[in-house]
């Protein structure tokens, strides 16, 4: 131990802990791995965080920010030693604005405490991870945490308006959805503390629905239950939660409390909400679908104590397993919703091969599955079997078109598995983004991105990308030619937002407009992949007759143009993934084509508002709705502004030669 920590301590209002017991207590989180830091800062405020980060930067000491340390992927483990910056004491709710429905919080506020503060005002905070009674909002932001309610409401990122963060260079910055330019705020959310430390957040609160009805239904098979889920979603019912449990989960719950759950192959727990008439209408729809798919039991609760009783079993699922062995591996993967039964079947086969017996718990509405496996970490071979099964399950999820994390994050445990989901070009881009913000590599190092040369077992990339359209191939080739000669690129859609004079000055204008096809309409999962050159009018005209609605504004220009110029901040809620072209001609996919994925940096949202200065969008995968959404179409022309310092850093990561759309980098149009 050679850190001159007393010098650090003098700069801070909070204490710096260095005794062995304290270091040992910060060596772990809720997952398996352990590594001790060399010092722990109990930050007393944002200024402490800033000073601690600046101190680490000056001395090239790695650091990890930590909330409650309930991370399930090793994200809080200080693998390279250094300093743990605990945010547990930054636990004030600074304000709740009931009119604006916005809470301003410090990162150490416990999720439940915000719920408790909002409830008397008739408001609630939507993300509800299983650990909500103890986990902190800072941790939720870092991991982009979810929970049962995110089927309807989305994960943490869908509820953030702005963050204040200490950046790796020791500056305190504020990033808001209202900022012009790329969505740096979206990049920070879910970046697992590798790009900065959030010290304050502006969060959305929602109005508590008038009524919530809880439904428990039993099914003779998981296939029947999932078919029922698909039917409910397709009917346009938007349940608050749609949870499924398999027989083993139900049996372990019943052995533990008993909750009176029916002994069936699958049990669904559904909640509908709204006004009394809306909730009754949705309840009837759910009842009808359950009946149609052979539900053998159907229980309804409208009032709190009865609702709590139906929830009791689901809430005790983890505890029921935790009693059976010292450890429970809580795996987290996502598949397209309609492939859940297949995923469950193949997953059980994989588990059998590894001689482990996972109990399955699903956030069925969004295809998020949690195989929970009990084991004793003191038994090395058993632990290795559980880990190997977990890895195989993640690979399976990717093969089936899903993602390696729906809500827990990547951290340490899934770092290698990132190579199954993302092409080497995407991983390289992630690395460059990390380096652009944190050139010294000190902020939560060795997390989230595979180390150079680190490869997971099996062939890399578990599913190959679909071929590009001919139009896209020609655009890519032209860009590659120009990149070789180092010529600047002027790439637009229809050019509806480009000043005409500017356009006339260009030697060559490349346009995405020929890329105008719908590549894939996944009807079962309400997802579309469309090329960027399709106009909004064309896209809507294609989809709406089929009953699919794109929650994007109907404005002039192309899909790519809307995404790049972000005329409305709400567009971020439907963007799942993008195929992008970099100025050197590289093509890669960022994000994942499922409704819930928190794997990797959120580059799809980062690119919103980037005005084509970072990358060219070739294709975008969007979430569709079964009903016409309330989206504003009459919008003011989007604003362009001068590049800020963080935008410039990102520019170097995406477009090091500075070739792409220089026209858009200057100040206002």
């Amino acid at each position: 131990m050679s850190l001159p920590v007393r010098e650090l301590e003098r700069a801070l209002s909070g204490p710096v802990l260095t005794c062995e017991a304290d270091l040992a207590a910060y060596a772990f989180d809720g997952a398996h791995d352990r590594a001790r830091p060399e010092a722990v800062v109990l930050a007393g405020g944002a200024e402490d965080v800033r000073r601690a980060v600046a101190w680490c930067a000056a001395r090239k000491v790695p650091y990890v920010a930590r909330g409650a340390g309930t991370n399930l992927a090793g994200g809080c483990v200080p693998v390279k030693g250094g300093v743990v910056i605990s945010l547990a004491r930054l636990n004030r709710i600074l304000s709740i604005d009931t009119l604006a429905r916005c809470a301003i919080v410090e990162p150490g506020v416990v999720n439940l405490h915000l719920q408790d503060a909002a409830a008397p005002l008739g408001l609630f905070y939507a993300p509800d991870p299983a650990s909500f009674k103890v986990c902190t909002l800072g941790g939720n932001l870092g991991e982009n945490a979810g929970g049962p309610r995110c089927f309807k409401y989305g994960t943490t990122t869908n509820h953030v308006r702005a963050v204040e963060a200490v950046m790796p260079d020791g500056t305190l910055e504020r990033f808001s959805l209202e900022d012009p330019g790329p969505e740096v705020m979206s990049l920070l959310v879910g970046s697992e503390g590798t790009l900065g430390v959030i010290t304050k957040a502006w969060l959305d609160l929602l109005v508590v629905p008038e009524r919530v009805v809880t439904i428990l239904a039993a099914f003779p098979s998981l296939d029947d239950a999932m078919a029922c889920v698909a039917g409910i979603v397709a009917a346009g019912v938007s349940p608050r939660v749609l949870e499924a449990m398999d027989r083993m989960t139900v049996e372990s719950i019943e052995a533990h409390i008993p909750a009176g759950y029916p002994k069936a192959e699958a049990v669904l727990l559904v909640e509908v909400e709204g006004s009394p008439s809306e909730s009754e209408r949705d309840l009837e729809a759910v009842r009808e679908h359950c009946g149609r798919h052979g539900a053998t039991g159907f229980r309804v609760a409208r009032e709190t104590p009865e609702r709590d009783r139906l929830w009791e079993g689901r809430r005790s699922a983890y505890a029921a397993l935790a009693r059976l062995a010292p450890n429970v591996s809580v795996e987290d993967g996502v598949v397209p919703r309609d492939r859940l039964p297949e995923a469950a079947r193949r997953l059980r086969e994989l588990a059998r091969e590894h001689k482990v017996e996972p109990a399955l718990l699903f956030h069925a509405g969004d295809g998020n599955l949690h195989p929970n496996t009990i084991y004793d970490e003191r038994d090395r071979t058993q632990t290795e079997r559980v880990k190997a099964a977990g890895r195989d399950i993640l690979r399976l999820c990717v093969e089936l078109g899903g993602s390696i994390s729906g809500e827990h994050g990547i951290g340490l445990e899934k770092r290698a598995a990132m190579a199954w989901l993302f092409e080497p070009e995407a991983l390289a881009l992630f690395r460059r983004v990390k380096e652009s913000f944190d050139p010294l590599g000190l902020a939560n190092p060795d997390k989230l991105i595979p180390l150079p040369g680190e490869a997971p077992p099996g062939p890399a990339l578990a599913r190959s990308p679909a071929p590009l359209s001919d139009a896209a191939v020609s655009l890519v080739e032209r860009v590659r030619e120009k990149a070789r000669s180092g010529s600047p690129l002027f790439v637009i859609g229809t050019g509806s937002k480009v000043p005409g004079a500017l356009r006339r000055e260009q030697a060559e204008v490349l346009t995405t407009r020929p890329l105008a096809s719908v590549r894939k309409l996944d009807r079962a999962n309400f997802i579309v992949t469309a090329e960027a050159g399709i106009t909004m009018a064309e896209l809507k005209a294609l989809l709406e007759p089929e009953g699919f609605f794109v929650p994007l504004p109907l404005v002039p220009g192309t899909l790519g143009g809307v995404l790049a110029t972000r005329p409305w901040t709400g567009i971020r809620d439907c963007v799942l993934s993008m195929r992008i072209l970099l100025s050197d001609g590289t093509v890669c996919t960022v994000g994942a084509p499922v409704v819930k994925s928190v794997a990797g940096y959120d580059l799809p949202r980062l690119l919103l508002g980037s005005w084509g200065t970072l990358a060219v969008v070739l294709e975008a995968t969007l979430r569709l709705l079964p009903r016409r959404p309330d989206v504003p179409n009459d919008l003011p022309a989007p604003r362009r502004s001068a590049m800020g310092p963080w935008h410039r850093r990102l520019k170097r990561a995406f477009d090091p030669a500075g070739l792409l759309n220089r026209w858009a980098e200057g100040a206002g149009v």
Partner: protein, 438 residues
């Protein structure tokens, strides 16, 4: 062997190592832990403490003494055990860790424990002298540098200092000739006098005996020695076992009718009596005797059937502070609330009632600042309910709450539930009489 080595956990009998390893580090305990909430320090959380004990058992700490502060700041309240999915017995594990660090315990404390058990008369007379000094305004002489400390009774001196009104007579004398008490062979209950009501808060003991008599008929006194909790928590296990054996033998020799409950009115002590079998896991014969005894032990709060309690219109707004060793140590939460509802017509819930008040035996003396912080939070929660009386079921809570209320919320008083029942019964008797004569 200065540690237990094996524990009786919610999941069955386990080695201490297995019990510690049952912690999966999920962290669900954190917000239940008053010391973690107050400090935000992982080593001061149940999960952190479990990991430290586990590392000590695995030889994973090169400096085990560095864990001393984390272990000594544990309140042993057990709130973590209640919320833990696997009910990991953190208080027992922390005690194991402390024992491993200190060996056979401080000589002074062992000396006091032996004195209490072997020479109770001398102990009582010393205590009374201490109280006299205190009442004569010589508290410092008696407590800080005085007689008790000179005799090696420092913990007792500290406790004596805490008492607002030192009793002039100890409970044993107070109970002489009480009509509720008769021969053991005919007793409907047996009163086990814990050290708190016996030596400090004699008013609680008097109330309990009166209430048990009124609600359950004539009972008897156990004439028990100290239960041994002091040694279990702060001293030597052999001393604790000796105390437990003495208690069990006394119980067996008393000749109570079958099934007669043994009732104590300090929840810390009662929870420990109920856990006696854990002391004798390696001694089958004693384990069986301890199990037979523990099965009969009841907290006084469990002896207050609401349907037999009088409604007391004069009782002001009341709230319940969950005494840790009642709620978490014995799993009793509904009984005190039901009693207050019957007495006062309602019970106001305070926020985080299940959080420790910071009394926690000797904790208030050893970690004064942390204890004060918890006390302030507790009094604030009480004040938020605007209650005028707060019910608590252990001596340690009552002393701590009285201290805090006097400083920050003097409109409210703290009382053992049996005190409130005794007052209601007395009031009913008076009004009944008045009615009779009128």
């Amino acid at each position: 062997m200065s540690e237990l080595g094996r524990l009786l956990t919610a999941l069955g009998e386990r080695s201490s190592y297995d019990a510690a390893s049952q912690c999966s580090r999920c962290g669900y305990c954190e917000q239940s832990c008053p010391t973690y909430v107050a400090t935000g320090r992982e080593a001061f959380s149940p999960r952190g403490r479990n990991q430290l004990v586990r590392l000590m058992l695995e030889g994973g700490l090169s400096d085990p003494a560095s864990a001393a502060e984390a272990l000594s700041t544990c309140l042993l309240c057990g709130a973590c055990q209640t919320v833990c999915p696997a009910h990991v017995p953190t208080p027992d594990l922390v005690l194991e860790g402390r024992r491993a660090l200190r060996g056979r315990g401080p000589a002074l404390l062992n000396r006091m424990a032996r004195l209490m058990r072997e020479r109770p008369e001398l102990f009582r007379s010393l205590l009374l002298w201490g109280y006299r000094f205190k009442r004569w305004g010589l508290a410092d002489l008696a407590a800080r540098s005085g007689l008790l400390r000179l005799l090696g009774l420092a913990p007792l001196a500290e406790m004596a200092q805490q008492v607002k009104d030192a009793p002039s007579r100890l409970l044993d004398a107070e109970l002489e000739g009480r009509a509720e008490l008769g021969p053991a062979s005919e007793a409907a209950w047996s009163y086990f006098a814990p050290c708190g009501p016996r030596y400090l808060l004699t008013r609680v003991g008097r109330a309990t005996v009166a209430v048990l008599g009124a609600l359950h008929g004539r009972g008897a006194r156990s004439d028990n020695p100290c239960c041994g909790l002091l040694s279990f928590n702060y001293g030597d296990l052999d001393e604790a076992r000796a105390a437990a054996r003495a208690v069990i033998m006394g119980f067996e020799a008393a000749g109570l009718p079958p099934g007669t409950p043994v009732v104590g009115d300090c929840s810390s002590c009662v929870a420990f009596l109920k856990s006696y079998p854990q002391l004798f896991l390696g001694e089958p014969a004693w384990r069986a005797r301890a199990e037979a005894f523990a099965a009969r032990v009841k907290d006084a709060v469990e002896m207050l059937p609401p349907e037999r309690l009088p409604r007391d219109e004069t009782l002001p707004a009341a709230t319940v502070h969950d005494t840790c060793r009642l709620r978490h140590g014995q799993g009793v939460a509904a009984a005190p609330r039901a009693a207050l509802k019957a007495l006062a017509g309602g019970c106001r819930e305070m926020g985080r009632s299940e959080h420790c008040c910071g009394g926690a035996g000797a904790f208030a003396f050893v970690h004064g600042d942390l204890s004060d912080e918890l006390l302030k939070a507790k009094v604030a929660a009480i004040a938020d309910t605007r209650a005028r009386v707060v019910a608590a079921a252990s001596t340690s809570c009552l002393l701590q709450l009285e201290r805090g209320l006097a400083m920050y919320y003097p409109e409210c008083r703290a009382a053992h539930p049996t005190e409130l029942v005794a007052e209601a019964l007395a009031r009913r008797a008076r009004t009944g009489e008045a009615h009779h004569h009128g």
